[in-house]
Amino acid sequence: MSYPGWEVVIGLEVHVQLKTQSKIFSGAATTYGAEANRQACAIDLGFPGVLPVLNQQAVEMAVKFGLAVDAQIAERCVFARKHYFYPDLPKGYQISQYELPIVAHGHLDISTDGGETSKRIRILRAHLEEDAGKSVHEGFEAASGIDLNRAGTPLIEVVSEPDLRSAGEAVAYLKKLHSLVRYLEICDGNMQEGSFRCDANVSVRPVGQEELGTRTETKNLYSFRFVEKAIEFEIERQIDVLESGGSVDQETRLFDPDKGETRTMRSKEEAMDYRYFPDPDLLPVVCDGAFVSSIRDVLPELPEARRTRFMASFGLPAYDADALVAERDLAAYFEALVAALGEDNAKLAANWCLGELTASLNEHNLDVAASAVTPDALAGLLKRVLDNTVSGKIAKDVFAAMWAGEDDADSVIEARGLKQITDSGAIETLVDQVIADSPAQVEQYRSGKDKVFGYFVGQVMKLSKGKANPGEVNRLLKSKL
């Protein structure tokens, strides 16, 4: 979407739930979906007399993230209390970080123009904090329920600089971030369950204007589509307001997914004074060089590096490399496939990973790890494509059979008689028959209508039930016509 005369400025705040075993300041479990308030201990419930104790695993995960976005890890960071009253916030304050976050000044590069160019998005900071509980409004009469299972779940809030210039860039950044935190195994990335959610700061300004326009913050965007829709709605709304001579109010807005629009939640006048101050119950967190190095040593290969390697070692186009590395398990699947097929066949492997495999996974709503066809099994099939036992088209049928639970590729090909006809004599008979049956088309072709050639190929393949070797069919048709 483009808005002539206007420049869009977007910054994102992303809440990434860390997949620690227990909560950030208590020993309660963090598993999603338990019966309400069964995963909330006295600490999570904000009882009198309780004290927080920091979960070291959460610190390690935050540092891991910081290193992955090439950020500074604070040698000493401090937890602060952020105060507001809400029933799902048991203590009346959220333990967060304010002046001294654990991670600052990193960046994430996003691909634009279908992967041909990249753009650097600066990350201002990422701080550790605890999640709040949830208010439940359904199923209660004249009241609301409070579920504090989520209270105390560790989060990092990743705050970007206002470097994004369109809803598309915002989504690209968000997807990149989503991929990264899953690579790092610090977040399960489940957006529906709220493990990865986003607030968007959006403003517009006339092209050429230095000063930033007044921004709004839209809260609680928990799907890529919502982010895109909310931002686009907000851009259009702000431009409309400004073009009709009005001014944008600095405010917090809420996205309504049903209506696809944003609406005012809190005006600037109602903005909260959070009365931050350092939490006296927690000591400053010290991340010394040795600790940071120990985490750097166990960092996995990051998507960016993997993408570069896939392009350099396997000669993959940027688009394929981007798509393959987006998910760590998919990239691993691809690598296993390449290992079995040889690097020369990397493009074939990529096509299958991004084609049939991804399509089947999507259709059955499965993760790569749960694929019904293993990389070895797929390699077995693709070897039969490479040695001309089956055509690519037939291979898709074999794949479907394998997905449905049949044996390895060879057995399927054997059992169903799908072996490609490579015998020139047999194919020649079919070719002769098609030519004999199609005098009109032969006439057209010979008078220069090259396009008719496809018709002959189609007829021969049809006669062979798809099993004729396409190369041989082409060669024989050309010579006979």
Binding site: F47, G49, L51, L54, P90, F277, P280, L282
Partner: protein
């Protein structure tokens, strides 16, 4: 069995239990009977847990019979009602928690239970420990056993009144700005606030987290040494508790006084100190000199800023710590709230008393946008200066001595209308909290029939030295043996 069990020291009581002169149940019954007889007047306890106490006592008797008893097995005690006690109402002397039954024991409570003490009940206090006279209690003020028209001090006034009235030989307290030492001084007891981090804060309803510390009341340094040994120690549930071994405080009582250097800060003897109280403290200093200590004049130049600093830091933290009392999950909840805001404002408006509300307002103000730097941040800087004063002083001296309070106990109601005057009562005590140092008050004289106390302040983790110096003084004097008539 003697009728005067309440006049015996903890060691004597423990000896009597071991000798089978009386059982732990009999001992508990003796003190429970005294509570029944006199607490209607003194108002030291909010809750008397007679049944639980007798259960504890029976367990203690079993341990005594089995030969597994320790030095505190069967010794009765009361807990300030700020300590969570599992299954027992824990009110913090507030209407807000009038109906609150604690789901677990505070670490200090658990440790003392482990040591075999018998808890008789929960002691009165200023509401949420905010006050110096016990008059902010929702349950009415504790009275001073020496003169029932006068305050027992605060905030741990009920604990002090209980020990001074002979309801228990020991009591726990908490000290955020003097809440153990001041009532100890006003009721003629020995009261200790340990180093910040020495005792776990887990299970203590937080007032000001960076200042709060559990402490105790006893009749002597010796009794306190026994109690502190059982209370102290690192607790993984409190990130601010110190990973420091707990010494044998009883053994440390033998540390000699000779050669010890005691500093006398001139700022503690300036205008505002009642002449007779000052004279009693100077007499104690003279006693120390005679016992072989060297007395040196010192200066703590920034200590005069302690009260204003404290009354920024403490309310700031309190306003935050008390935000959880919102009527949603536990505690007082307003009847039929119109909406969420009404639920909050009426639950809190009804549940909190005036002094608590005042401090929440002060705290919210000093933390608010635009004022934070001028108040909270500035106070933290001054706090550093005060701590640095002590650090400099302790480079030269081993202990610091001065008065605990400017005057003996005043009359109930006397300062009710003037919070600032009441805040100034904390002038000698708050600096130790701001600097995180251990400090102790011990009786050192009588002024017009009322006890007055001296305060000893030590460097971090010098509790053993404080107790030893007090013990040496108590071996040479008998102020700590004086008893109010009700406790005779």
């Amino acid at each position: 069995m003697t009728n005067a069990l309440h006049t015996l020291s903890v060691s004597e009581l423990a000896q009597g239990l071991r000798d089978k002169s009386y059982s732990a149940v009999e001992l508990a019954e003796h003190f429970l009977a005294r509570i029944k007889a006199h607490d209607g007047h003194i108002n030291a306890l909010i809750t008397c847990t007679e049944n639980e106490a007798l259960d504890d006592a029976r367990r203690a008797d079993a341990a005594l019979a089995a030969g597994t008893a320790g030095a505190l097995t069967g010794i009765p005690l009361v807990h300030k009602d700020i300590f969570l006690t599992e299954g027992v109402r824990t009110t913090c002397a507030s209407r807000m928690l009038d109906n609150f039954v604690a789901p677990f024991d505070a670490t200090v409570v658990a440790k003392l239970k482990q040591a075999g003490v018998v808890s008789l009940g929960k002691a009165n206090m200023d509401e949420f420990a905010m006050g110096s006279s016990n008059e902010t209690s929702y349950y009415g003020a504790s009275r001073n056993p020496w003169d029932a028209e006068r305050i027992a001090g605060g905030s741990s006034g009920g604990s002090a009144a209980a020990v001074a009235a002979g309801f228990a030989p020991l009591a726990t307290g908490t000290d955020t700005g003097g809440s153990v030492r001041q009532p100890a001084a006003l009721t003629g007891l020995t009261g200790l606030k340990p180093t910040y981090g020495r005792c776990s804060r887990w299970g203590i309803v937080a007032f000001a987290s960076s200042l709060d510390q559990a402490g105790g009341f006893a009749r002597s340094a010796e009794d306190l040494a026994l109690m502190l040994g059982a209370m102290a120690g690192f607790d993984p549930k409190d990130s601010t508790s110190a990973q420091q071994d707990v010494p044998d405080y009883l053994a440390e009582l033998a540390q000699p006084l000779a050669g010890i250097k005691i500093g006398r800060p001139r700022e503690f003897f300036a205008a505002g100190l009642d002449a007779a109280t000052g004279a009693a403290v100077d007499a104690a200093i003279e006693q120390y000199r005679q016992l072989g200590a060297e007395i040196v004049d010192i200066s703590l130049p920034n200590v005069g800023l302690s009260v204003p600093t404290y009354y920024v830091v403490a309310p700031a933290e309190a306003s935050s710590n008390l935000a959880r009392f919102d009527g949603v999950r536990y505690g007082h909840r307003a009847d039929s709230p119109a909406d969420l805001k009404d639920l909050y404002s009426r639950s809190r408006g009804e549940g909190f008393g005036r002094e608590v509300q005042r401090r929440i307002m002060i705290g919210a103000y000093v933390l608010s946008h635009g004022y934070y730097d001028a108040y909270y941040l500035q106070a933290q800087k001054v706090r550093q200066l005060i701590a640095a004063d002590f650090e400099r002083a302790f480079a030269d001296v081993d202990l610091i001595i001065g008065p605990t309070t400017p005057t003996p106990a005043y009359k109930l109601g006397e300062k009710n209308n003037d919070p600032v005057t009441m805040y100034l009562d904390d002038i000698y005590t708050v600096s130790a909290n701001l600097a995180g140092l251990p400090a102790l008050s011990a009786p050192c004289g009588m002024v017009e029939g009322l006890p007055v106390g001296m305060q000893l302040i030590g460097p971090q983790f010098a509790e053993g030295r404080l107790l030893a110096a007090t013990h040496a003084y108590q071996q040479a004097t008998d102020w700590h043996l004086q008893r109010a008539e009700v406790a005779q």
